[in-house]
Symmetry: C2
Subunit: 348 residues, 2 copies
């Protein structure tokens, strides 16, 4: 590996400077992404065509001195493979043609086979690894069971996913049945990504933070832990570091660190130094600038990078990132300022 800063930081080993990658680094803010996306015809087709997924995965690696690549895909590939029929319309978001409406819908679900039902993802992973030529490591990913269940029940995005929560309150057993089959699917899917060549794995619990504390423990955290433990028993995945990112769930950091993951993703509503003190030496931390900082001036971006590095302090185990995905309205030049600032200011 030409550049192994990212993997070293995840193991909390010393690095020459803090590694950085950006959530949604292959995304709409890049003109070259928009061009490939237009050729693909649809977002789903872009995900399902390994050559195109590979192309957009590599675009930010070509443009910026990033320290990791992340598979271009979507968290909703698993429910799609389970038969729910995914479409994604720009400006509207994801939608399932066949959302889960009855207990029978949930009872009929089965775990997809990654190498057949999600072959396009595994092909993309293998192709990206070849095309990366060991320049930087490749991150694979999946959505958390709770987050996937939210979309599967609601059928689309929502402010509060009340329909999913109502099922948890009204029929917890059925909700657990759903979360269990999804958790087993996610674990198998991530293990297959590791076997195909992913060198780190990230679980996005995008909607965990919408849950009250006891609900979070029962319906989100428990299945995150189940997946991490399951990966530790898998030959291909057992040595692959897992990053768990539960957005808006900062009050649960200690429990999240106890899942057995290598690192926690952090949103920007907690100080890095505070988070580090809370989880101690148990995990690395990834994050956590407010994505809105990329709408500020270059001077402000550098200042905020410096503040984040200072807050984390001179310890091993920091992977720089935003606290959420980069937004489509960002000027790509601003991201260059951020990446350079991370490398330059952390090397001092």
């Amino acid at each position: 590996m030409t550049n192994d800063r990212f993997l070293r930081a995840l193991k909390r080993e010393p690095v020459d400077c803090t590694p950085v990658w950006i959530m949604r680094q292959a995304g709409r803010y890049l003109p070259e992404y928009r061009a490939t996306r237009a050729r693909a015809g649809s977002f789903v087709n872009l995900c399902k065509t390994p050559e195109l997924a590979c192309e957009v995965t590599l675009q930010p690696i070509t443009r910026y001195p990033l320290d990791a690549a992340i598979l271009f895909s979507d968290i909703l590939t698993i429910p799609d493979a389970m038969g729910l029929g995914l479409s994604v319309e720009e400006g509207i978001g994801p939608r399932f043609a066949r959302p889960l409406r009855t207990r029978a819908d949930i009872e009929s679900l089965s775990v997809p086979d990654p190498e057949t039902d999600l072959r396009y993802v595994m092909e993309a992973v293998r192709l990206i690894r070849r095309e990366l030529h060991e320049r930087v490591p490749l991150i694979g990913f999946a959505g958390s069971p709770w987050t996937l269940a939210c979309y599967m029940i609601e059928g689309q995005g929502s402010d509060n996913f009340a329909r999913a929560k109502a099922l948890a309150w009204d029929d917890a057993a059925t909700m657990h049945r759903l979360l269990d089959v999804v958790a087993r699917s996610v674990a198998g899917y991530l293990a297959a990504q590791a076997a195909a060549g992913a060198q780190a794995l990230m679980i996005f619990d995008t909607w965990g933070g919408l849950l009250a504390p006891e609900m979070f423990d029962e319906f989100s955290l428990r299945y995150l832990a189940q997946i991490v433990q399951s990966l530790k028993l898998d030959n291909a995945a057992k040595d692959v570091p897992v990053i768990v990112f539960s957005k808006g769930a900062n009050s649960h950091l200690e429990q999240l660190a106890d899942t057995g993951c290598a690192a926690l993703g952090l949103d920007w509503t907690i100080g890095l130094g505070n988070a580090r003190m809370r989880v101690g030496d148990s995990v690395a931390l990834q994050g956590n600038l407010d994505p809105a900082v990329l709408k500020a001036s270059p001077a402000a971006i550098r200042h905020e990078v410096e503040r984040a590095l200072h807050s984390f302090g001179p310890h091993p185990g920091h992977v720089f990132n935003l606290g959420h995905g980069i937004t489509p309205d960002v000027d790509p030049e601003r991201l260059a300022v951020l990446i350079d600032a991370v490398h330059e200011l952390s090397a001092k």
Copy 2:
């Protein structure tokens, strides 16, 4: 006052049962509200016509055994009175015709006079107090300076209010100038509501939780404290309890309690018992069921009410509420179940 449970709970005095009111209790989930709203022609006109604002304020008090009424109005009346030109379209949200685009726009702002520029609000408060006949207390309210600044700069709602944050990073002095004039406007507006008859005052810091910790301290918390302290120096307002609700800012509860407010509003992502331990005896707490619980079965609603009451424990100083506004899709019968459960289960 026939029913003073709410005011007693805010003072942390013993009550016969836990008082309850609901954020947005006068709202679209009620058919009688929708009828009055249709007669008003527009949401803004409903706010600006004291007789209609009074009518919808009283509708939930007539229908349910609630323990407080809250003025029907909008947090954006102040920027509207400052000349920004508010409109609110259903399903889209608020929009300003003249958002703040330049430093000169901000420098030209002045504090509105409540009894002239916002006379319709004061008339509504006086009318509601008369029509309430001392059945329950009336709550007045305003938006926080940070929250109002977000809308004034952005011109409309936003996921992350990046434009407002960028001003804070790029030109903090100008942002502070804006927040100061808004804070003085909010303080004067709330004092005038108290003079007109409001018996408690609530400040909604809806977007405080979007800020990183140091940003929250500098751009939100500081102005919340300024307003509370200013109200303590006002003859009409000095004995009127103030409730501060900073949504998503649970990591700042101790500092929020130190503003001098009587009570803190809480969203549902923190346990009531945990919050009570953190703030001790300094303030009452208001909240905090997930609004989505009203989409669950009556049995689940009762169970969640019981769990919240149990979490708070047998202490004085709890005002029951949701952790955010009731949503338009709720069956009004479900809210009756919740209110009855609060009174019945807390009286035991």
